[in-house]
């Protein structure tokens, strides 16, 4: 008798915790090898200018400084960092060189790498570098970029980058629609800011002609491929090692200039070199995200049923097109329709370059933004048409019967995705019940002790499980225990536990017999695709199931040989013993002792899985200070199959908190010269424990995905999508008597106060 599915679905305490709780995690900064030199990066102090000269003599004169590398030391051709996602040729002119050589385009752009005996001396060296830059006007705003008066890339002739379009049906419906509304929204520049800054430790072994680099994360295999090309080594001459990773959320682990400069310097000096990004440079060097300005127009019938959606948005990608810098724009174009039936659509999202830090993905890229616009508009439309805010959503949600439901097509890099499965009304109903929507309805707009109360509701879909594939290896050890290797990467989400649960159930063994789950590093499996797009559990988990099935076949075949029977006649019991006809048996440990029982599996995925859900909140707005208190917040998400309710709930709640940060607090501000004004954690404000105490997340698993054998859908991001939309809706509901409509993030106290001031002066306001 075997126990199937005992682990999957249980709130198993994490195996990772045992080392983290005792201070025994090992992050790249924790590696203290002997004979290690330390690097620091000299970054452009100017946002835009011609790089005339770099004088490193004073830096080199400092005792303990070993070398300073600039573009001049890299040879005749400076490598550019290619794109990982959507590498369209039209985007290539905007790629970032690994080090600035002719121009600098943002404050923080690497100009030189100083290598010294200690990190402190390396920084002394950075301070001693003299650079001459002929300043050019900084392009900091959308109008400045669009005017083209100053170009970031002269040869390109424009600051406007190819955009994306989501289209479906025919938007001429707008000519005849009985109701339309057009609105403009903006989202401010902010990003992930994981608690561990980036770090790399590169080691060159001249004898073996082999490079080892610690500090890999997210997509080590892809980064090895890029590095191999840029640095001129074969892939098997490079090992990227993933250590414990202090938070990912999108930006961490992409290929950055330092990912070239460190190994280059290590190889050149034939030394081991460590670079740990400090927080100041983290805030100006790691991918930013989210900044956009979008106009959205929706056409409805008088019952509030959406007839069409159109408009145009612009994403500010900063100074260069980075590895995944186009994803935000693409996703706005796709996710603007969300979980709703939008029969006719034409939505374009362009991109512009400006003299700011380049952008990349941050948890829910494009979706956080698009969902803010769409959900705000639904509330405005409901108000105009005199329809209940929940009812307008019900009338437009794609129903179970309509699935698979084809969404708008996206071009370029064409995609036709389908909403695959589920019942969107279930999560909406649960969410309304949890917040107490009906009981609290009377609070909307009510003033209690000087604060105005309001409720908000919003719905979302979350795409997950991006392909193309993932690899896993499962090995039966000589001890009779099992080891799992997987191409997915850990970024703090607990995959060692989740994969052990999946493998344990598939192997029909307790978790204690899964002695290790090894991930990320490029030595474990033949290829790997990493951790992004809420894909690790879906893709890695499915690959593990394939590997387990193959391993079982292998065990049965080997046992059949030993027991003189066909493989089909062998039964594996409790992952421990192979039993043949007539009860003859052999211990698996014995088999493993004599034969190498290890097999790689894979999973190929062509269709995404679509999790979905709803958010609701209850806020109180202090009209004097503009402060919004979040009195209650709930997100409900159906993630197909819940592997571990503990970690799944953690993903939702953590996502919500990041979304609240982006909605209320976090903002990269620049002055007109392109200087970053929020370059410390005192000025770039992350949410803390006392800001939003009442946050709840509820994962549901009523509708397993038909797209993968695990049945899981990606669940790492849904908690962030709706946050700005639902908060904006609740604030609008609270301040209804002032007719305040939040359209711009962040909803900081001064911003809310300014909105109230403007509303009070407006003649349409009843106040």
């Amino acid at each position: 008798m075997t126990v199937a599915n005992a682990l999957v679905g249980s709130p198993i305490e994490r195996v990772e915790d045992l080392r983290f709780l005792r201070g025994r995690g090992q992050y790249v900064g924790d590696l203290n090898f002997d004979d290690t030199l330390h690097a620091a990066v000299f970054r452009s102090p100017v946002a835009h200018g011609k790089l005339i000269s770099v004088d490193k003599s004073a830096a080199l004169a400092i005792p303990g400084v070993h070398a300073v590398f600039t573009a001049a030391d890299l040879g005749d051709v400076i490598p550019y960092i290619p794109m990982r996602l959507h590498p369209l040729p039209e985007l290539e002119p905007f790629w970032q060189p690994v080090v600035a050589y002719d121009k600098v385009r943002y404050v923080g752009e690497p100009i030189a790498l100083v290598v010294a005996d200690s990190a402190a001396i390396a920084e002394d060296g950075v301070d001693a570098i003299e650079v001459e830059i002929e300043p050019l006007p900084a392009v900091m705003t959308k109008p400045q970029a669009e005017s083209g008066e100053t170009l970031l890339f002269d040869k390109k002739g424009t600051n406007e980058v190819l955009g994306y379009r989501g289209y479906r049906g025919d938007v001429s419906i707008f000519d005849t629609a009985p109701y339309t509304r057009k609105e403009r929204f903006t989202v401010q520049r902010h990003t992930a800011v994981p608690m561990e800054p980036r770090g790399l430790l590169a080691e060159w072994d001249a004898e073996r002609q082999h490079l080892t680099m610690w500090g890999a994360a997210k997509v080590p295999f892809f980064n090895r491929r890029i590095l191999s090309r840029l640095i001129g080594l074969a892939e098997d001459q490079i090992l990227l090692v993933e250590n414990d990773v202090g938070g990912g959320f999108g930006p961490r682990g992409e290929f950055y200039p330092e990912d070239f400069l460190l190994p280059f310097a290590a190889r050149h000096l034939n030394k081991r070199i460590k670079w740990i990004e400090d927080r100041r440079e983290n805030l100006m060097a790691m991918n930013h995200a989210r900044e956009c300005d979008c106009e959205v127009e929706i056409a409805c019938d008088l019952k509030g049923r959406i007839l069409g959606l159109r408009g145009r948005g612009v994403v500010d990608i900063g100074a260069y097109m980075r590895t995944n810098g186009a994803v935000g724009a693409r996703n706005i174009a796709q996710f603007i329709s969300g979980p709703y039936r939008v029969p006719n659509m034409n939505y374009e999202v362009g991109m512009i370059v400006t003299n700011k830090t380049p952008v990349g993905t941050y948890r829910g890229p494009g979706r956080f933004e698009a969902d803010f616009f769409r959900e705000r508009m639904l509330d405005m439309i409901a108000e105009d048409l005199g329809i209940d805010r929940v009812e307008i959503r019900r009338r437009n949600l794609v129903t179970h019967a309509e699935m698979p439901y084809r969404m708008a097509s996206i071009t370029p890099f064409d995609a036709d995705d389908e909403l695959d499965s589920g019942d969107y009304s279930e999560t909406l109903d649960r969410c309304l019940a949890e917040i107490g929507w009906d009981e609290k309805a009377a609070l909307n707009g009510k003033e209690i002790d000087g604060r105005y109360h309001g409720l908000g509701i919003a719905c979302f879909v979350e795409a997950g499980g991006a392909g193309p594939k993932e690899f896993a290896r499962v090995t039966l050890e000589k001890t009779g225990d099992y080891t799992v290797y997987v191409g997915s990467a850990a970024v703090g989400q607990g995959i060692e536990t989740v994969f052990a649960q999946i493998a344990g159930d598939a192997l029909e063994v307790p978790m204690s017999r899964i002695t290790g789950v090894h991930h990320g590093s490029t030595r474990n499996v033949s290829d790997g695709f990493g951790a992004y797009h809420s894909r690790s559990t879906v893709m890695g988990g499915s690959a593990i199931l394939d590997a387990v099935a193959k391993l079982k076949d292998m065990i049965r075949a080997e046992a059949g040989r030993r027991l003189n029977c066909s493989a089909d006649a062998v039964e594996i019991v409790e992952g421990t013993t192979a039993i043949g006809p007539g009860g003859r048996s052999i211990a698996l440990a014995e088999l493993a002792a004599e034969t190498d029982l290890s097999v790689e599996g894979s999973f190929i995925n062509k269709r995404l899985s679509w999790a979905y859900g709803a958010h609701a909140t209850h806020v109180a707005v202090d009209a004097e200070t503009g402060h919004v208190e979040v009195l209650d917040y709930i997100a409900v998400e159906d993630v197909g199959r819940i592997i571990n309710p503990l970690t799944m709930t953690g993903q939702i709640v953590g996502s919500i908190m990041q979304g609240l940060g982006g909605t209320f607090l976090e903002h990269f501000k620049y002055d007109e010269n392109g200087q970053l004004l929020t370059g410390s954690l005192a000025d770039y404000m992350l949410p803390t424990a006392s800001d939003f105490p009442k946050v709840r997340g509820i994962p549901m698993g009523n509708h397993p995905s038909p797209m993968n054998p695990v049945g899981a859908k990606g669940g790492g991001e849904g908690g962030i999508f709706s946050v700005a939309g639902v908060i904006g809706n609740a604030v609008a509901a609270a301040l209804k008597s002032f007719n305040v409509q939040p359209r711009d993030l962040p909803l900081s106290p001064p911003q809310i106060w300014e909105l109230l001031q403007a509303a009070r002066q407006s003649p349409s306001s009843p106040q």
Binding site: S118, A119, A120, E123, D124, D127, D278, R279, R280, E624, T625, G626, H627, L665, K669, L677, T678, S680, A682, D683, M685, P687, T688, S690, D691, S748, P749, P750, W753, E754, Q757
Partner: protein, 286 residues
């Protein structure tokens, strides 16, 4: 963000400290709790040639309370103030303000001397000192001098402290038991510097009229200031009615001179200062 190189001294007497300061050509910095100086050095905004650690200086960590008021040594930490039961009656306004200072770990090392030497216009300690007519004792080569708080704070990160001088003690005048007081501040997050804050107290004279009103604001200008126009409205009044509160709110907004910065417009801070004074007054009268 490694610190720039410096020499380090850890003197055990005030005399030694003064002589180290004097011989450093103004390039030395005193290290009290380090909660402001260390970040400044980490960003290399401050790069002193010599850091003089005050931790072994005798007598600077004492809190003394008598009929003349409260005397705080320069090395008294925020946690010392919060942990001293006597201060809850000897100076409840000070305690209430200090509860808003930064975070737990910072309060375990940050000192009142360090805070006032740093002179952030939004900081609580300077605000209380200005509001309460505190006196600051400083020691230099030529001896000791006493500076009124209002004269001490000049501009952001700028004080009346001369090169070679160090803060040794702060005296807050005695606190009558019947005094009414209020403290309010608004910051983006718990522990952040205030976008605006108000500290105030009022007494009653022999015939029951409001007297000796002291109203101070922080975070709305280049230093903490008192608002004599607001105090004038309160002094001599028999009671505070809604109309008076409205007038006080308006007068506050009109009397402060905040500037636009990365966190908000001057107009917002002006309004917020009015709100904070109003709320502090209401809590004082509640």
């Amino acid at each position: 963000m490694k610190l720039p190189a410096f020499d380090y001294a850890c003197p055990t007497t005030l005399a030694e400290t003064i002589s180290l300061l004097a011989s450093s050509n103004g390039e030395a910095r005193l290290l009290a709790g380090g909660q402001s100086l260390m970040p400044m050095m980490a960003f290399r905004i401050a790069s002193p040639s010599l850091v003089i650690d005050m931790r072994k200086l005798p007598g600077l960590n004492r809190i003394e309370i008598d009929a003349n008021g409260v005397r705080l040594g320069a090395m008294v930490r925020y946690c010392d103030i919060l942990g001293d039961e006597r201060l809850r009656t000897a100076h409840p306004l000070l305690v209430a303000a200090i509860e808003h200072v930064a975070h737990y770990q910072i309060r375990n090392r940050g000192t009142v001397g360090g805070s006032i030497a740093h002179a952030d216009p939004a900081a609580e300690t300077p605000g209380i000192l200005v509001t309460c007519d505190a006196e600051i004792t400083v020691l230099g080569e030529s001896g000791t001098r006493v500076i009124a708080a209002d004269d001490f704070f000049i501009a952001p990160l700028t004080t009346a402290l001369e090169p070679g001088e160090m803060i040794t003690q702060i005296r807050l005048p005695a606190w009558p038991a019947a005094r009414r007081w209020g403290f309010q501040e608004f910051s983006r997050r718990r522990g952040d510097f205030a976008m605006a804050g108000a500290a105030l107290f009022l007494d009653r004279d022999d015939v029951g009229l409001i007297a000796n009103a002291h109203v101070g604001v922080i975070g709305v200008g280049d230093r903490a200031i008192r608002l004599p126009q607001v105090e004038a409205i309160l002094n001599g009044a028999t009671a505070v009615n809604d109309a008076m509160i409205a007038e006080i709110e308006k007068t506050t907004a009109a009397s402060v001179e905040p500037f636009d910065d990365i966190h908000s417009s001057a107009a917002y801070r002006r309004s917020l200062a009015g709100t904070m004074v109003k709320r502090a007054l209401k809590s004082a009268l509640a």
